[in-house]
Symmetry: C2
Subunit: 412 residues, 2 copies
Amino acid sequence: MAAVSDFIDGERLWQRLMQLARFGETAEGGVDRPALSETEIAARAQLVAWADEIGLDPYTDSLANLFLRLEGEDPNLPPLLIGSHIDSQPTGGRFDGVYGVLAALEVAEAFKSSGIVLKRAIEVVAWTNEEGSRFAPGMMGSAGYAGLRSVETIHALRDGAGTTAGEAIERVLAHDRNIPQRSLKRSAFGYIEAHIEQGPILENLGIPLGIVTGIQGKRTFRVTVKGEENHAGTSPRSVRKDALVTAIAIIDALQKAVWDREDVVRFTIGHFAVSPNAPSVVPARVEFSIDLRHPDADTLIRLGDLVAPIAKGHTGPCAVEVTQLLHDAPLVFAEEMRDLLARVASASNFPAIEIASGAGHDARHLHAICPTGMLFIPCWKGVSHHPSERIESDHALAGAKVLAQAVERLVG
Amino acid sequence: MAAVSDFIDGERLWQRLMQLARFGETAEGGVDRPALSETEIAARAQLVAWADEIGLDPYTDSLANLFLRLEGEDPNLPPLLIGSHIDSQPTGGRFDGVYGVLAALEVAEAFKSSGIVLKRAIEVVAWTNEEGSRFAPGMMGSAGYAGLRSVETIHALRDGAGTTAGEAIERVLAHDRNIPQRSLKRSAFGYIEAHIEQGPILENLGIPLGIVTGIQGKRTFRVTVKGEENHAGTSPRSVRKDALVTAIAIIDALQKAVWDREDVVRFTIGHFAVSPNAPSVVPARVEFSIDLRHPDADTLIRLGDLVAPIAKGHTGPCAVEVTQLLHDAPLVFAEEMRDLLARVASASNFPAIEIASGAGHDARHLHAICPTGMLFIPCWKGVSHHPSERIESDHALAGAKVLAQAVERLVG
């Protein structure tokens, strides 16, 4: 008997990746496809057209999540979900998110072609607004689906132009008027998301697959340093309240405190704003962000708890405020899913390693309601969220094959 | 015989200071009077009206410098210039610049009232665009007068709105059509500028007058750090090219290298811009400014020459460029002027100390063509370029009296 993975067509998958990349294509060869935009509506229509050709039934919901369903023997059993998202960062690439959706579509088509009977339905899913660059916070559709945020809260969010997410969703659903809208339901048998690694580890090791152990925890902070504006030529150091000097002392001390030989800690000052920011004026105010991540819950707590005391210990003559904005504990995916993915990778002779996810994914939210797993494929130099984002078609194929076999073991 | 300083009227001087502060008055109690603006044109008309009442002859030139002349016995001898400027920073105060012009006007009126015969003319001067916040670089009128910049170069400068300095000057001169326009001449017998200290030293010591020894030297640099954008969650420290981390290492090393126990070095990072400046993105680029000042030429050379090697020694994985934008050597005012000012202060029983100027002034340019001196009076907490700029009327009076006596010794 033929295995489902024999029906996975790498060439077809690659062509679809290239085709979807045209929606929001940029001059630099990347993709700019904001969540719930006209560009995403067009890409979504393309997904539905493919689903029609394959024979999948499309559904949507009040958050405009898109599901393409391949029915199983018992339509009443909760479906197995496979997918990711198709929105991008403003200067995004062609594969982040899209790969997971199109690999899942390829798996559904392979099942259809194989004639294998499924015990329960599988649904290819594209979650709404994973990136969070138009409406923040991101991972919006999966958060609503998993019941972690209310639909009302989500609908009330506004983008930079003042449009609410509710209005933007309404516009998408108007285009989807031929697609049945289901109530937001929270019963899923499981969820598997394939994704590019967004880091350099698989590429550096020359390994085509990563079995994701979990998503590291994340704490973010805003630090505000208030000093006093002064004349760069006339004010002696002893009377200055230089907010930049204090900010630098704080950052220097924090860097030393969180440093680890193993290079597991992720510590980033990405945002740093100075006021009045004029060359001959002593800075009166600095505001900077801290992004701290770690896969171990206790370490994340210990390191994050150092931020406020270290900042307070290096105020110099300035006033310093530390505000924690987010504390997401690390998450470990269901052992059954990790084992299953490792077994099918090994059975297919694809080398695979366990790997932690540095970035957040919709899988974080699905993990709250069903056994969830993730599969990484390598990406060029670990680059993502950039026009130069690139993957190998062999890796794309390997990921889809392993995903297909995992699905077969779960619902075949 | 009465001395000229007996005719100095402190109350009149204070009233004029308050009256001129109305031109460009801000809600915060400060002044916003851009160079060559409608506001400055109105303030200028007020100066000319006072000159008419006193009996001074107004003149202007192709840079819109304003001269109010009190004729001397021999009209052919080069005049003694006394004054400063009346333009302000956008969030400026009531005294920076204006005090020097109105103290000079008070001196001219005192001579007029005293009946003392002057061997040569004195001219009260308001130089065009000292601040440099509308057209950069500043000290424009005095630079042209001293022949240090060409009129053509100055006329070609543009403000943020695209207006050239030439056009703005033309508009001012159209208002001044009744004021004779002289050729830009460079023969002056001497120049004395009274000014607020813009630093805390006189106030801290409780001394009303500072005899300015000179203007400290200044070197400015732009440092550009080029790294690589990366994902804050996924990229290990070992592969990052974090431009902010490198910038902080450079600044930290520079701060240590230029530190002096005596607190004479002025070292300021006033401008610091991060790109893309997003909390979850490793910074790809940082550009920051360095403003370094010192009264000693050799020390300024030695410290400034450390900038490039220290920056190059702390590049980490990034590329670093250092560009020097300015190197103004320190300047020591003519000994005869410093001695004269010290003698008249002492004769008037006003305590005075020698003091270096941290800020630049039009006197820097006049120094190139004639014996030049400066007189400082204290200002509240050393604050300048701010609505809270404040002086004591007693100090304003003391400065005007000493200025009057110095002028009398020079040309009486």
